[in-house]
């Protein structure tokens, strides 16, 4: 049952081949039996799930079922869930039970999905390895000595281990695409503004974007249909109609122009990964697409620009965690200053504190123009590179990550080595473009991902290309040993 796709689950539920209660119970049992090895779920919401499944079954029986009625799903623990602890992977919010649902969670609820639990993640989504979570690292189901990627590592590992058919995730610099690549699943970061950020705990507000994870592009299309919406509660939400992403999955790729940026195939790219990506590109050629060499000359500046902008915005966003209205508070504060300073020192982990300090530095008097202002201008350069490239191509493709999953602790204490993991994914966040990762090969017994970058609001075309690739190949169907 756990190997069925979301598409098959929807179909089976409608035909009464099984009930939502049966599937929900099955996935809950898998989480309880198997997740001790992966640590992908922070909170299992068994009672809520069984109650929601019962309601879904009643609606299915009454032929009053919304699109994903009865389908189980896991939400990243960054999305606020009414009455269910939302920790954001942090000690700071270990006791935080939101009094409201985020728009994404509400959208899924309205579409009838059943929440199985909340997934593990890097603390406040800051990390590329899931090593910064207060709840301990998530293990990669393909090799438990290796990281699952981050920050949405829990969602990615849970989908890869067949603990859930789909999951929500967020991406600020690669946090959907990189773990999707490292865990051998499909993940999509939509255009900035396509998915509401309301109730999604903020990291870097001008970069953050929620998106779906599943095993295939076809399933991601179904999830995005529910997830995307215009939301007046999010001032940056895009006020434009959401297309039916499933409707165009089978369009022909004949004549599709795919840009191949030379900067994505330079030094630092693992040879096996490069070969897998080249093989994938040949598949697209076989389907009638044309490969076009392009240049994104400012790619190298994306990591430095990101590590000014993201920490700067984070330092402002995270100033709200002060021990007063909710979340962690230190014991016996001497005075108000002491309450703030110790609450934040004890409540935030090392990487989060580091980024707050960097952001504070970049925004402090005398440095603002040299750092934040400069980075915002470089961001313009990066955006212009893409706009120019998209005048001549429909999609851009390359590797998602420089190499397959690495071992825990292997990036040592050097934050910069970890930051370079996101070299191919960060620039799309800076430009606000959509990007996705689809499994395209196995290197050293671990999966690697092909990245597909689309023009603004062109998610349908990306999903179409990814789906056609998955019709021609079976990389997305491989599962880790033992699951």
């Amino acid at each position: 049952m756990h190997n069925l796709s979301i598409t098959e689950l929807v179909d089976g539920l409608k035909k009464r081949l099984f009930s939502s209660a049966e599937i929900t119970e099955h996935f809950l049992k898998r989480i309880k039996d198997l997740d001790a090895q992966f640590n992908s779920i922070i909170s299992i919401t068994e009672a809520e799930a069984m109650a929601a499944a019962k309601v879904a079954d009643q609606r299915l029986a009454a032929d009053d079922a919304p699109a994903l009625c009865g389908v189980p799903i896991v939400h990243k623990d960054i999305f606020c869930t009414n009455g269910v602890r939302t920790s954001c992977g942090s000690k700071m919010l270990d006791n935080f039970v939101p009094p409201y649902d985020s728009t994404v969670v509400a959208n899924f609820r309205d579409h009838g999905t059943v929440m199985l639990g909340k997934s593990n993640m890097d603390e406040f989504a800051m990390g590329s390895s899931n090593e910064t979570s207060f709840y301990g690292p998530v293990k990669n189901p393909w090799s438990v000595d290796c990281v699952p990627g981050g920050s949405s590592g829990g969602s990615a590992a849970a989908v890869a281990a067949r603990l859930t058919p789909g999951a929500t995730a967020t991406d600020t610099g690669g946090s959907i695409r990189q773990p999707a690549a490292l865990c051998g699943i499909t993940g999509l970061k939509p255009t900035y503004g396509r998915v509401s950020r309301w109730g999604m705990i903020a990291f870097a507000s001008s970069l953050d974007q929620g998106g779906p994870m599943a095993r295939s592009a076809e399933d991601c299309a179904l999830l995005l249909n529910c997830m995307a919406s215009y939301d007046s509660k999010d001032s940056t939400s895009a006020n434009r109609a959401v297309p039916d992403y499933s409707a165009t999955l089978n369009d022909s790729l004949k004549g599709l122009r795919i840009g191949i940026p030379e900067e994505y195939f330079s030094e630092g790219l693992n040879k096996g990964t490069e070969q897998a990506v080249q093989n994938a590109l040949s598949e697209f050629e076989k389907m009638g697409a044309e490969l076009v060499k392009i240049k994104l000359p400012n790619t190298g500046l994306s990591v430095p620009a990101y590590y000014v902008i993201a920490p700067a915005e984070a330092s402002a966003n995270l100033s709200r965690f002060d021990g007063v209205k909710y979340g962690y508070r230190c014991d016996n504060p001497q005075d108000l200053e002491d309450l703030y300073c110790r609450t934040r020192a004890e409540g935030f982990g090392e990487e989060v504190q580091r980024r707050i300090l960097i952001g504070t530095y970049c925004l402090s008097a005398g440095y603002y123009d040299a750092y934040y202002g400069k980075a915002q201008q470089v961001r313009q350069l990066i955006r212009q590179d893409f706009i120019q490239a998209f005048e001549n191509v429909d999609l851009i493709m390359g590797p998602t990550c420089p190499s397959p999953a690495f071992e825990f602790g292997s990036k040592g204490g050097d934050p910069v080595a970890m930051y370079l993991e996101d070299i191919y994914t960060i620039s799309t966040n800076l430009a606000g473009l959509p990007g996705m990762s689809v499994p395209c090969g196995i290197v050293d017994n671990k999966p690697v991902g092909l990245q597909i970058i689309g023009n603004y609001f062109d998610e349908a075309r990306m999903l179409n290309a990814a789906h056609q690739f998955q019709q021609a190949t079976d990389w997305h169907q491989l599962s880790p040993e033992g699951v």
């Binding site: 935080f96 939101p98 009094p99 503004g193 001008s206 970069l207 007046s232 001032s235 940056t236 895009a238 190298g300 500046l301 990591v303 430095p304 620009a305 000014v308 100033s319 021990g323 007063v324 209205k325 909710y326 508070r329 504060p333 001497q334 005075d335 108000l336 002491d338 309450l339 703030y340 300073c341 934040r344 020192a345 504190q353 580091r354 707050i356 300090l357 960097i358 504070t360 530095y361 970049c362 402090s364 040299a370 750092y371 202002g373 400069k374 980075a375 915002q376 201008q377 470089v378 313009q380 350069l381 955006r383 204490g413 050097d414 934050p415 910069v416 930051y419 966040n429 430009a431 606000g432």
Partner: protein, 95 residues
Amino acid sequence: MSIEKQAIDNLATLARIAVDENKVEEISQRLSSVLELVDQLQAADTSELENLDHPLQGTQRLREDKVTETDQREAFQTIAPDTEEGLYLVPKVID
């Protein structure tokens, strides 16, 4: 570029994070390595460019000035560390 100890103390004060004295050296080293990375930006010629604050160059929407939220003070205060009679309690600020 490296950060002096005094600068770390200043940052910690601005960010309201108590920094452990024994960790200042390590923090300084790690912040310096990030700033070294970030300094690569200085080489880019951006003299002709405006700042990009919003990835889609959007503008803030305005909404009608009317009340849309209901009073949920009680629900919000059930998750607060310390409250009394509808107020959030913090250590005494004025003697």
